[in-house]
């Protein structure tokens, strides 16, 4: 057994005087209790939005893409902007789970479950856009790689759009597996304390017959580690491939080699912002402040300022290269269509800069990082900024083609385009509300794992170790094994 010790400098990850049983009680209780009035109101609003989205999609499917304001040369507009935005948000969950697991960051335990759930719902939302953008959505199965009945013609494996199909579906599958394999032991916990028949039955089925055997835990650990190891490059690959949709082309503003890592950094950035928005609400509504602490929020804000700055370097790199390349078209796109405030879409570029690069810099201040209201506000700002980023990339590169004769008029979305976007919010929050009600929103087993090392009430017991001379400490440790 390893020594349960950590430096006194570290903030507790679990506050309060907690035992293992208390952890179970705190986290599982909301599942067993009746949902609050707030939950019903939120759920109702989410479903309403979903219905509106469904109707918007119905219009689009019935009457065609003409229901949207896409036109030459803006063939991609809100739909693909929203697609990339949602996919980006869908990155933080797996990142928190996988990368932070590999880096042994104990604080991931408080937030990983909800973040993973968010990932899955965000990817579900993202998937809607390219599918319905096809127009004839009943033909969507054409993307499947099989020798189809229209002659032995295959899908184009050289096309980034097909890579996307593979990337997003793989990402969705693997995230789901990763999430669910973590949920199995927690479902067993819910099952074993359930007192209604229905709950016993359903959580019994969901827990796959988990018992907590040591051998099973050993395999479970191995599985989690390997899935984390696989997910890490997978997360990178997904947004990389999304960036390839743009960067493999020869359109000024799209064809730039920094796109892959820069998209990934942006995705992590927006994903963490979304996690912040959701968790700040969840911890309040379910009274989980002991588990999702200010320390967690502080750390996530650090990630936000880091990724925001990386994204900032990438923006400036692109802008610089727009000039440095001395390529007229690149220069025009970057310095006129984007960076010139009074060009038709200049506002969106500066909106993006303000939201993504400048405003997160306030998180250099510890006081700001630990302020819940500021964090919540900033998380919304960042997500608006990241939406602008995709809008900037897509629309400002498209609206003025090489020839002035193919310059399009000002693009603004129709109500059904907006409705579709709003509808995905409905889908996202409907799923999230259901998740928050019926699933353990915090990984119970993992909190128990870090409890005795990082729990507030266990900290005083470590003072003796803290004061110990290094030599004798090393000596003790050498004999402990």
């Amino acid at each position: 057994m390893h020594l349960k010790y950590e430096s006194q400098l570290r903030e507790p990850l679990v506050y309060g005087n907690k035992t293992y049983a208390q952890v179970t009680e705190d986290i599982v209780r909301p599942i067993e209790a009746k949902p609050s009035r707030l939950w019903y109101i939120g759920f109702f609003i989410a479903v309403t939005l979903l219905m509106f989205g469904a109707y918007s999609v119905y219009r689009e499917v019935t009457y065609g893409i003409g229901q949207w304001n896409l036109n030459k040369t803006i063939g991609w507009g809100w739909d693909i902007t929203n697609f990339v935005w949602w996919v980006g948000i869908g990155h933080a969950g797996t990142l928190i789970s996988a990368v932070l697991l590999l880096f042994r960051q104990g604080w991931r335990t408080g937030v990983n479950r909800a973040a993973e759930a968010m990932t899955i719902f965000a990817v579900m939302c993202a998937g809607q856009f390219p599918i319905f953008h096809m127009g004839r959505v009943w033909m969507a199965f054409f993307v499947m790689p099989y020798p189809n009945s229209r002659g032995p013609l295959w899908v184009n494996f050289n096309s980034p759009l097909l890579w996307d199909v593979f990337a997003i579906s793989t990402y969705f599958t693997v995230s789901l597996l990763f999430w669910y394999s973590g949920l199995i032991p927690d479902f067993a916990t819910v099952r074993d304390r359930a007192f209604t028949k229905l709950r016993k039955k359903l959580y019994g089925i969901a827990s796959f017959g988990w018992t907590g055997s040591t051998k099973h835990w050993q395999r479970h650990e191995s599985l989690s580690l390997v899935l984390a190891g696989l997910s890490t490059p997978l997360v990178l690959s997904v947004h990389t491939i999304v960036s390839f949709d743009f960067a493999t082309s020869v359109i000024p503003g799209w064809h730039t080699t920094i796109f892959p890592p820069y998209f990934v950094a942006g995705a992590i950035f927006s994903g963490f912002a979304m996690v912040q928005s959701l968790l700040i609400i969840v911890r309040k509504v379910f009274g989980l402040e002991d588990y999702i602490t200010i320390g967690h929020i502080d750390l996530m804000n650090k990630v936000i300022v880091l990724t925001g700055s990386i994204v900032g370097i990438a923006y400036l790199t692109e802008l610089f290269m727009g000039w440095y390349s001395q390529n007229k078209y690149e220069g025009y796109t970057f310095w006129y269509s984007r960076a010139y405030l009074f060009s038709p879409y200049g506002w969106s570029y500066w909106g993006m800069m303000a939201c993504n690069v400048l405003s997160p810099q306030i998180f250099w201040s510890r006081k700001m990082r630990r302020n819940v209201f500021v964090t919540f506000f900033m998380s919304i700002i960042v997500n608006i900024g990241m939406w602008f980023e995709r809008f900037v990339i897509i629309v400002t590169s498209l609206y003025r083609d090489y020839l002035p004769s193919s310059w399009s008029v000002y693009y603004s979305p129709t109500i059904w385009e907006i409705g579709f976007y709003v509808g995905t919010f409905g889908l996202f929050f409907t799923c999230f509300f259901l998740f928050a009600k019926y699933f353990p929103v915090i990984a119970v087993a993992e909190i128990k794992y870090v409890l005795k090392r990082s729990g507030e009430s266990f900290k005083p017991g470590m003072e003796k170790i803290e004061a110990q001379e290094l030599e004798s400490f090393v000596h003790d440790q050498a004999h402990a094994h």
Partner: protein, 195 residues
């Protein structure tokens, strides 16, 4: 499926559990398993379990995915239906890397999860005997299978003297079967005050 006899000892602290495991094993008993609410690091070694080779299986699945992707795409694009796409060679390997990578990950992940479920007999609808309902809450439940010669009283005494909070003898099914949990009456909190 066979009914077997087990001696069960429950502990509430890992720090007590580890020495107990050592003592019980030293006394010559074979511990069937310890059921814990979370992954207790080092317990598998203390029980003398060998390392799992699940990751090796994952590696093999991954390689399978890589091979599948490379062979399928190259066959399709060089033999079955070669197309000129953007003037690129038919064998356009750089353009296939993304899909090759995705399939590698997909095969490895799906294969591993299925293998994991198979090895641990986990599936929707599977049911197993639970020695103690709080094993998924806050107890570490040590289970020792009895042979004909086992003196259950001695064993219980040994467990108690090593810090077990409660001990008992159970006759239970050793394997798994299909079933649901809704008819179980062994309520978890019958021996614990509910707030």
């Amino acid at each position: 499926m066979a009914q077997k006899k087990f001696v069960v000892g429950c502990f509430d602290d890992e720090a007590v559990l580890f020495p107990a495991v050592k003592q019980v094993r030293a006394a010559g008993y074979k511990i069937k398993d310890v059921y814990t609410p979370f992954a207790v690091h080092g317990l598998d070694h203390a029980l003398g379990m060998r390392e799992t080779s699940l990751h090796t299986a994952g590696f093999i699945y991954g390689i399978t995915g890589t091979t599948t992707a490379i062979s399928c795409i190259s066959w399709i694009f060089t033999k079955d239906w070669p197309l000129n796409i953007g003037g690129k060679p038919h064998f356009a390997l750089p353009a296939w890397i993304p899909i090759i990578f995705e399939l590698t990950v997909l095969f490895a992940a799906v294969g591993m999860v299925l293998t994991f479920c198979y090895l641990c007999q986990l599936a929707p609808g599977v049911k197993k005997h639970r020695f103690h309902n709080r094993a998924t809450d806050d107890l570490f439940v040590m289970v020792i299978e009895c042979s004909d010669k086992t003196n259950t009283d001695d064993l219980k005494a040994l467990l108690s003297s090593n810090g077990a909070l409660e001990t008992d003898v159970q006759i239970a099914e050793d394997g798994w079967w299909f079933g649901t949990y809704d008819n179980d009456n062994d309520n978890l909190y019958n021996n614990k005050q509910l707030a």
